[in-house]
């Protein structure tokens, strides 16, 4: 870094002075007098002379604080970590207080730009130090100092003060950018502290509850997607190692809080989440799919003779905050798709469909899952619009004999088991609370079952539904009503299929699920 001679010593001295001031009783923590005197001292030391020196000062301060923590944590005399923590906090909290005061007082009172600029600078510096430390110390890396700095600074900057309220949205944005930079796939050794930061009650409250017009929801959704992307390769395999289990359970807790307090958030961003959650993560995905708007009353899916198509809600489309059409690539494929949907020709489009979706021959990774998901939802929404354009509403007869159903039936027949599993999952991911997508895809799945020309397809449809039902609750409403319809409606002759009776325990399983559903 080529720091100018003497700067490290000056920074060290200043930091010591400040920590002394911070912890001295008679100065009092909030006395602006002590702070302004300190800023004067910083001036005397020439720290505030240029932007570059300020940057170096914060970087050196961060590193000095972090080094102090590493030293404390390395102390053998007090092995008990919880004894050492107050000592770590001693240094870190003081530094954070200094940063918070500098941010609050930078520029004149109502000039938010300088405050935000300084905050972004400091967050960037701390993040930079963390990543460098993470890459240098590797398995000796400690999360504590960085977590403490980020957490305490966030609490400081979210105190109920007018000057802070004025910049709060920028504080949240800056934090989300920083947390995105430090996402677990970039700093795996920081993943637990990262999740603790992202799910801190004050952070969650500010991001999801108090920020107006849900302006921070997309930012929070991005952080969750970062988490799911990181977890995906580890959750793809059945055996979860302890570190993964810990992170996974923590993630479930956070999702439960979101499901309970912010179901609309999960509803709005479900598509993006399911896009990155591995298909075998059934319970976590169910949790997201089970969310429904708080002002909605869900009819009991077990009521006999529930007339789903009489429900008013099924005429409304859910909010999908993802640009599905843009996800259909390459552009040529999208163009061909649109022309087929419009003209129901050329037939060659259908036979080429699988080729567009398949990306390799290696088992387990043969298909472009994101493209598959986007295709299914896009075709489904186009189908609903098409049926409505004819003044009809989706039901078992109006969804048939259309370009849209051609595509679905073709995929049912043409894909191999792996592809069909992903394709059926894409459909089942739309079975949520009462809305037009749930209704359309529920009908589609049942129609595909009824029209299937081989029992293998019917069996796989059943498997996809069943595996979502046999995990612990919650279960999405749309999933329940679809399965209940499948096993109750004689048109599907569900119980006459051989795969229902292929083994005593399978049969017993079906019966017990049926009992709980009927």
């Amino acid at each position: 870094y080529e720091d100018p001679p003497g700067l490290v010593e000056k920074t060290d001295q200043l930091l010591r002075d400040w920590i002394g001031i911070y912890h001295s009783q008679h100065q009092g923590r909030d006395s602006t007098k002590a702070f302004s005197m300190f800023v004067h001292q910083m001036n005397v030391y020439g720290i505030l002379k240029t932007d570059d020196l300020i940057t170096r000062f914060f970087r050196l301060s961060t590193q000095l604080c972090v080094e102090t923590v590493y030293r404390v944590l390395a102390e053998k005399t007090n092995p008990s970590l919880s004894l050492l923590r107050p000592k770590c906090y001693h240094t870190l909290d003081a530094f954070v207080r200094l940063v918070a005061l500098l941010v609050k007082h930078s520029g004149d009172a109502n000039n938010t730009t300088t405050k935000i600029h300084l905050l972004n600078k400091v967050l960037g510096i701390v993040a930079g130090c963390l990543l460098q430390d993470h890459d240098t110390r590797i398995t000796d890396f400690q999360q504590l100092p960085y977590q403490r700095i980020f957490t305490m600074l966030f609490l400081e900057l979210n105190a109920p003060e007018p000057v802070l309220e004025a910049i709060n949205f920028h504080v949240l944005t800056a934090y989300c950018h920083t947390l995105h930079i430090l996402r677990p796939s970039k700093a795996a050794g920081f993943c637990y502290a990262w999740l603790e930061l992202v799910s801190h009650r004050v952070f969650m409250g500010r991001m999801l509850a108090t920020s107006p017009q849900q302006k921070c929801w997309p930012l929070y959704a991005q952080l969750l997607i970062d988490l799911f992307k990181y977890l995906a390769p580890f959750l793809r395999n059945a055996e979860l190692a302890k570190p993964v289990t810990m992170l996974y359970k923590g993630t479930l807790r956070v999702l439960l809080v979101l499901l309970h307090d912010f179901p609309e958030f999960l509803c709005d961003y479900h598509y993006g989440f399911c896009d990155v959650i591995p298909p075998n993560c059934i319970q976590m995905r169910n949790l997201i799919l089970s969310a429904f708007p708080r002002n909605m009353r869900l009819p009991d899916p077990f009521t006999p003779n529930l007339k789903v198509d009489m429900l008013q809600e099924i005429s409304y489309g859910p909010r999908i905050l993802a640009n599905i059409a843009m996800m259909i690539t390459p552009p040529q494929f999208k163009k061909d798709l649109d022309s087929y949907l419009k003209a129901r020709a050329p037939v060659t489009f259908l036979s080429e469909l699988r080729g567009n979706l398949q990306i390799s021959n290696n088992p387990g990774v043969r298909y472009n899952v994101q493209l598959m998901n986007a295709l299914i939802l896009y075709v489904g929404t186009q189908a609903i619009a098409y049926i409505r354009s004819k003044g009809l509403s989706p039901n078992m007869s109006t969804i048939a004999h259309s370009a849209h159903m051609d595509i679905f039936q073709n995929l049912s027949v043409d894909l191999d088991t792996e592809g069909r599993y992903l394709y059926l999952n894409a459909i089942a991911n739309q079975l949520r609370y009462p809305n037009s997508h749930t209704h359309y895809f529920s009908c589609t799945l049942l129609y595909l079952f009824a029209e299937a020309n081989t029992e293998a397809i019917q069996e796989q449809i059943t498997r996809v539904l069943l595996e979502r039902l046999i995990v612990n609750r919650p279960h999405p409403w749309g999933l329940l009503i679809t399965f209940i319809e499948l096993i109750k409606n004689p048109t599907y002759r569900f119980w006459q299929h051989e795969f229902v009776h292929c083994a005593p325990e399978i049969e017993k399983l079906f019966e017990s699920v049926a009992r709980s559903c009927m």
Partner: protein, 165 residues
């Protein structure tokens, strides 16, 4: 039908880092502000026994027959109103700046205690101190129904606040 997929090299490296972090899990107090007034505020005064137990949200090992998880509704005013007055004063003075202090103050007011802001002390409305002299002015000690407290102390009643927490 997807089967397991071997971890890529990149993921294996990530796993190693995650695993080492797993052995340095964050402590619950890492996310909590240290409140002024907790004894360990004066770092030099921490001794081996005290510091460990009074970090915020440090689980306090109590005998198994003690209640181990928060009581239902223990964050409600109704619950606080059923606590003893001494307990409320304890909560008020030792848990400042928290919701507990707020609830304790509310409960005390419902028991006709009034907080005198200038002298920062509580007294029953009908017992407003007649004489406020230098001694009361000095320092930040807080008095509350001193005679009763004195009496209870004589009877040997003391707070073991580590259990209370």
């Amino acid at each position: 039908p997807l089967g397991a997929i071997p971890l890529l090299k990149e993921h294996q490296t990530q796993f190693q880092l995650m695993e080492s972090a797993f052995y340095h899990m964050p402590h619950l107090s890492d996310s909590e502000r240290i409140r002024p007034g907790w004894p360990f505020e004066k770092i030099e005064r921490i001794d081996v026994n005290m510091g460990a137990r009074y970090l915020p949200r440090t689980p306090c090992p109590t005998p198994a027959y003690y209640i181990q998880s928060p009581l239902a509704h223990s964050d409600s005013l109704e619950f606080y109103q059923r606590l003893a007055t001494e307990t409320l004063f304890f909560v008020f003075y030792y848990m400042e700046g928290t919701k507990a202090q707020y609830l304790a103050a509310k409960a005390l007011k419902k028991q006709s205690w009034r907080f005198h802001t200038k002298y920062m002390m509580w007294f029953q409305r009908h017992e407003e101190p007649k004489i406020i002299n230098e001694e009361y002015e000095q320092g930040t000690y807080i008095y509350f129904d001193y005679e009763k407290w004195g009496q209870r102390k004589k009877e040997g009643f003391t707070f073991e606040y580590k259990y209370l927490e």
